[in-house]
Amino acid sequence: MTAEKMALAKAINESLRTALDSDPKVLIMGEDVGKLGGVFRVTDGLQKDFGEDRVIDTPLAESGIVGTAIGLALRGYRPVVEIQFDGFVFPAYDQIVTQLAKMHARALGKIKLPVVIRIPYGGGIGAVEHHSESPEALFAHVAGLKVVSPSNAGDAYWMMQQAIHSDDPVIFFEPKRRYWDKSEVNREAIPGPLHKARVVREGTDLTLAAYGPMVKVCQEAAAAAQEEGKSLEVLDLRSMSPIDFDAVQASVEKTRRLVVVHEAPVFLGTGAEIAARITERSFYHLEAPVLRVGGYHAPYPPARLEDEYLPGLDRVLDAVDRSLAY
């Protein structure tokens, strides 16, 4: 048997285990990643099996976690650090943006910074403030960083492997509300490139482009639309830096309509970038303006309101209807 079904969190755990096993330079670092196995148990059991020297519980200091990971990378290690929640990454933002992202270029390519920063992100779990944000655009905007997000367990397993093997710093956004969703993981598969988008559902009338937690919503929207006789293509972008614009363009030039869906605020977001690029690349193929569905220009709301804030089936289908009405 080559494929087994497992939850996304378990797939990342297995991927980290594989990496720790195969390369003594790989380290896991973060708050509570050891005995507890992380607040989402993504690193469950790793310290027990690989020791406190490889799976390192750190002081409660995000800048310190990333800053020391940079130093360890300079020494030849490949640290995979966990930021406990999306909203807690900002104390480390300076180290990520001013140091981690730029050091390779400043050294004229002579040093490499193979650091992976894992960030459980996004809403939908009823959490308190600072535990449900989607700051991916803030990282994708910074040259020197790569930014990815898996949408399912199989991808999560392989994308984590590829992120750890990358000689560039990778911001690895984990869709926390999909941690418990199960799908197939094939450890013997030959994975596609880390930054290549994937068509998860073929269609002819309109393209839905999404990543991370929104891929599932888009798949559900496409299924619902089919009952109304509409054929939607669903594209899982997988990577926000770089973005596989070729894949989006190819899909759009087939369906002639594009709706980009993400949880992050629409303003100046990933969707804005895709809309601009695709308008430039495929102007004469488009039957409608590229539409975006996402969060509002407001602080992430309290949990009782997050269903209003997060794009759901109806908001996606509403955008589909608006696009098709042109």
Binding site: D53, T58, P59, A61, S63, G64, V66, G67, T68, A69, I70, G71, L72, A73, L74, R75, G76, Y77, P91, D94, Q95, T98, Q99, K102, M103, H104, A105, R106, A107, L108, G109, K110, I111, K112, L113, A143, G144, K146, S166, D167, D168, H195, S241, P242, I243, D244, F245
Partner: protein, 390 residues
């Protein structure tokens, strides 16, 4: 005892008791490790003498030479900035002893994490001074391979490098190596969270790192009193490792104390904070105007403690150097200045495509796309001047 131990703070006086005289009058200097007085006299220090006991006259002349040449290089760079050849320069004038003393204490396999002012430490590490000028001239943002001399790139964001140093030291410990790391920063940086976090991490993981704070009294226009209410070296005790204040204008003391701290690190005894008490004689950078915030008398008082003059007095008084040595060094100094001038003026602007170089190690589709667009745009000027009206 100069090493700060875990002396408890005085308990608050209870109501009704009289204020008792403090141990030391306000503003008094805390213990300062000194081996060479400002007058050039060698003084004994029971704890640290051992670390320079076997120093030879030749090595002493070497320290003097390092300081003179570093000062000359620094002066040349300052002039070049004034002449418009450099966009900015951060002078180390006055801090030569702190940098040469600590820099010469390092071993080849140690690793140095500097700020942007450690020209003297770079000199000790064998980094070509010309390499330091690229970022100040604006032809690169760093420009050297940190691994060729174990001297990391200059770091401009204040204090960030102390965490890189700590992480690197954690790596050394993991490797089971016996080298050590030294992180440089200033009194202003002591206020930064990253410096506090690096103290925490290095203490918790017992990392072999020496924090070398050059307290040059001013963070641009902010005096040390704006950064701290306790002497900086005393910060260490709150983190659980020793802190020591050394006369930063005394190259021998800086050498001895740094050697001691590096050896502690090598033995697995963890981090040390060294506060080199010194003075920035010039401006923060060439953009700064210290006359707006500090008195001439202050600088004059520190001039009397000049690190180079005091070693020269000692060398002469102890017959460790003759006129021939000083004359030869003067000629060497002139030659260095000339070479620096020539190198800077000959430094070519980078190729336009350097914008895109090394943004990523593994490549990035967007960078490739934009490089191609840039190339096409550049190529569009090929026909210019042939009457082609755009």
């Amino acid at each position: 005892m100069t090493v700060e131990s875990t002396a408890a703070r005085k308990p608050r006086r209870s109501a009704g008791t009289k204020r008792t005289a403090a141990k030391k009058p306000p503003g008094a200097q805390p213990d300062l490790v000194q081996l060479l007085t400002p007058e050039g006299k060698r003084v004994k220090n029971g704890e640290f003498d051992a670390y320079v006991a076997d120093i030879t006259p030749e090595e002493l002349r070497g320290l003097y030479r390092d300081m003179v040449l570093t000062r000359r290089f620094d002066a040349e760079a300052t002039s070049l900035q004034r002449q418009g050849e450099l966009g900015l320069w951060a002078s180390l004038l006055g801090q030569e002893a702190a940098q040469i003393g600590s820099g010469r204490a390092t071993r080849e396999d140690d690793y140095v994490f500097p700020t942007y002012r450690e020209h003297g430490v770079a000199w000790c590490r064998g980094v070509d001074p010309a390499n330091l000028l690229g970022m100040f001239r604006g032809v690169n943002n760093g420009g050297w391979d940190p691994n060729s001399n174990n001297f990391h790139l200059y770091t401009i964001v204040i204090g960030s490098q102390t965490l890189h140093a700590t992480g690197y030291a954690m790596g050394i410990a993991k490797d089971g190596a016996d080298s050590a790391v030294i992180a440089y920063f200033g009194d202003g940086a002591s206020s930064q969270g990253d410096v506090a976090e690096s103290f925490t991490f290095s203490a918790v993981y017992n990392a072999p790192v020496v924090f070398f704070c050059q307290n040059n009294q001013w963070a641009i226009s902010e005096p040390t009193e704006r950064q701290t209410r306790v002497p900086l070296y005393q910060r260490a005790q709150g983190y659980g490792f020793p802190g020591v204040r050394v006369d930063g204008n005394d190259v021998l003391a800086c050498l001895a104390v740094t050697k001691w701290a590096l050896e502690r690190a090598r033995r697995g005894e963890g981090p040390t904070l060294v506060e080199a008490f010194t003075y920035r004689m010039g401006a923060h950078t060439t953009s700064d105007d210290p006359t707006k915030y500090r008195a001439d008398e202050e600088r004059e008082a520190w001039e009397a403690k000049d690190p180079i003059q005091r070693l020269r007095t000692y060398l002469e008084a102890s017959n460790h150097a003759d006129e021939g040595f000083f004359a030869e060094l003067e000629a060497e100094s002139e030659a260095l200045g000339k070479r620096v001038r020539e190198v800077v003026r000959a430094m070519p602007d980078p190729d336009s495509f350097a914008i895109f170089e090394n943004a990523y190690a593994d490549g990035h589709a967007l960078v490739d796309e934009e490089r191609a667009q840039f190339a096409a745009y550049q190529a569009s000027f090929a026909d210019e001047g042939e009457g082609d009206q755009r």
